[in-house]
């Protein structure tokens, strides 16, 4: 893996001894302390958005992960004015080539394929690179008969990639249909935020769907809905708890318990024998 990138990312995420103010309860903590607590506010439990490598560090066994296809990057398919410059800025800022990291690693010694979207890069929006990496991850998990975890953190479609962004929804969903037909096990973890075309494709297609507390999850954005219906939205609308109440996620799991929950689910799904399975759900 690219250690420079890893280092930059680490510095970015942990900061120094700077203070961080919790956006929910306004309590102040040293960034270092927050990082030690997996970026969960010690006072109110607010789950900060975290970068892809921080996520992998929290979830996977130490030193177990290897990143795949890490240099995959956008062709700017619409030749969109200013997009290349914007991509370059975000690359510099985050050390990532796009809004997604794909890796293989282990959780309590169980091998998994993991994809993590990173909201620091263009709000985790799905363009061709995100769609392509997710599809490759699904196909790789299918070939290797490994379980697949996808951590979503995305505002939705990457506008600057237009129709090519939209079509990633069909591509990723088709790949997951095949994977599911081959008995592949997919856990979708929804983190803050999971919106638009990401919600309307792979993120909603997990065998198990988990969410972090308080995560914003939905299809249409709040502003668009308010403009359309001409009224303000109810308290807690489109939060993980709302989704659970309405039957769209299996469980809300606080970040400190996530690794244990994933290990438990992976163990419960360890394959017993090969058998023909006809996928006819949904």
């Amino acid at each position: 893996m690219d250690f420079d990138r890893e280092l930059r990312n680490h510095q970015m995420a942990d900061g120094d001894l700077e203070l961080s103010i919790c956006p929910k309860c306004n309590a102040q903590f040293a960034k270092k302390e927050l990082a030690d607590r997996q970026h969960v506010c010690p006072n109110c439990g607010y789950h900060y958005r975290i970068g892809a490598y921080d996520r992998l560090r929290i979830i996977l066994d130490a030193d177990s992960f290897e990143e795949l296809d890490e240099t995959l990057h956008s062709t700017d398919p619409l030749d969109f004015p200013g997009y290349r410059e914007k991509l370059n800025q975000m690359r510099k800022k985050t050390g990532l080539d796009d809004a997604v990291v794909m890796a293989v690693g282990t959780i309590k010694n169980i091998p998994v394929v993991v994809v993590v979207l990173d909201s620091r890069f263009s709000m985790g929006s799905m363009g061709v690179v995100v769609g392509e990496k997710i599809t490759r991850a699904v196909e790789y998990a299918d070939e290797q008969k490994l379980p697949l975890l996808i951590f979503s953190a995305s505002g939705g479609a990457r506008m600057q990639e237009g129709i090519f962004s939209l079509m990633q929804m069909a591509k990723t969903s088709s790949a997951l249909a095949r994977f599911s037909g081959h008995r592949g096990f997919f856990i979708s973890i929804l983190t803050d935020p999971t919106m638009g075309g990401v919600t309307a494709s792979f993120a909603s297609l997990g065998d198990i769907i988990l969410a972090e507390p308080g995560a914003l999850i939905g299809f249409a954005g709040a502003r668009v809905i308010e403009q359309t219906i001409g009224q303000s939205l109810p308290e807690g609308f489109q939060r993980a708890e709302y989704l659970e109440e309405h039957g769209f996620i299996d469980a809300i799991v606080p970040r400190p318990q996530l690794r244990d929950t994933l290990a438990q689910l992976l163990l419960l799904h360890q394959p017993k024998q090969e058998a023909v399975y006809d996928s006819n759900e949904g």
Binding site: L166, M169, A200, S204
Partner: protein
């Protein structure tokens, strides 16, 4: 020049008298039996669906509809489906597979409805499940984009073996107004958005996103409906025949590969 042209497409595609799925069913199909409801929650009139015959062969027809006057537009929610519409469509498509009927979908929608109940009942989940299911259905699927095909609300009915656009229709990630509003916080820049988005049939065919274009009569489909019906009838008959002759595994493999290769990333 391109600017005015692309904008004219939008105007034609959105015209109140644009031919709708109802017109096409009446003109091209016989014995239409409309099926209502998703069997879970309710009936969504934004999506019309049922069984009919095309050249004598039973098929399942599904389409989004906007309505042609204000009263209809309100009743059909301006062509913006709720999750129940997508779930009804999925129910009908699964039934089509069971009875080995090809599926034809007609798309004309500003997008899936952005509403409180739509979110509460899982708009995203409904669209995702449709795409997942369509990618595996063991019958030929044809999608005709007849007006506007915007966002996941259109794609949720368009994972097909042959995706064709009428020459003045548009297909895009979002309406140009929504696009401009998200990108520049200014919906009034929609003309500029049109120009950049590559949403016309020609652009999309060149980009490999769609499989064909049906040339509309001068002035658009609505200017000469009889001619439009004849052209569409001919095209549907040809492609249904071709798709129906393919072994099902080849059909599924080609469907997968088609969507798999849309969008290219540099290593």
């Amino acid at each position: 020049m391109t600017r005015t042209k692309d904008n004219q497409y939008i105007a034609l595609a959105r015209a109140m008298d644009r031919l709708s799925v109802t017109d096409y069913i009446q003109a091209l199909f016989t014995d239409f039996f409309e099926q209502h409801g998703d069997r879970l929650c309710r009936e969504d009139p934004s999506i019309l669906g049922g069984i009919a015959r095309f050249h004598g062969m039973p098929v399942t027809v599904i389409g989004t509809r906007k309505g042609k006057n204000l009263r209809e537009r309100i009743r059909f929610n301006f062509g913006m489906p709720n999750p129940e519409g997508y779930r009804k469509a999925r129910r009908l498509m699964k039934q089509a597979e069971k009875f080995q009927r090809p599926i034809i979908t007609f798309i004309d929608t500003p997008g899936a409805y952005p509403g409180i109940e739509a979110e509460a009942r899982g708009q995203g989940e409904a669209i995702a499940k449709n795409m997942m299911k369509m990618s595996q259905l063991k019958v030929p699927i044809i999608t005709v984009i007849t007006g506007e095909g915007n966002s996941g609300g259109a794609l949720g009915l368009a994972v097909a073996d042959w995706v064709v656009m009428l020459s003045h229709s548009v297909f895009s990630v979002l309406s140009p107004e929504g696009f401009a509003s998200i990108l520049w916080k200014d919906a009034s820049r929609s003309t500029e958005a049109c120009e950049l988005m590559k949403l016309t049939a020609n652009d999309l065919y060149e980009a490999g996103v769609i499989d064909g274009i049906i040339e509309e009569p001068a002035g658009g489909a609505q200017a000469n409906p009889e001619q439009m019906y004849a052209l569409l009838d001919q095209a549907l008959a040809y492609y249904l025949e071709e798709l129906s002759q393919k072994p099902i595994n080849d059909l599924l493999e080609e469907r997968y590969e088609k969507f798999r290769k849309i969008g290219f990333a540099l290593e």
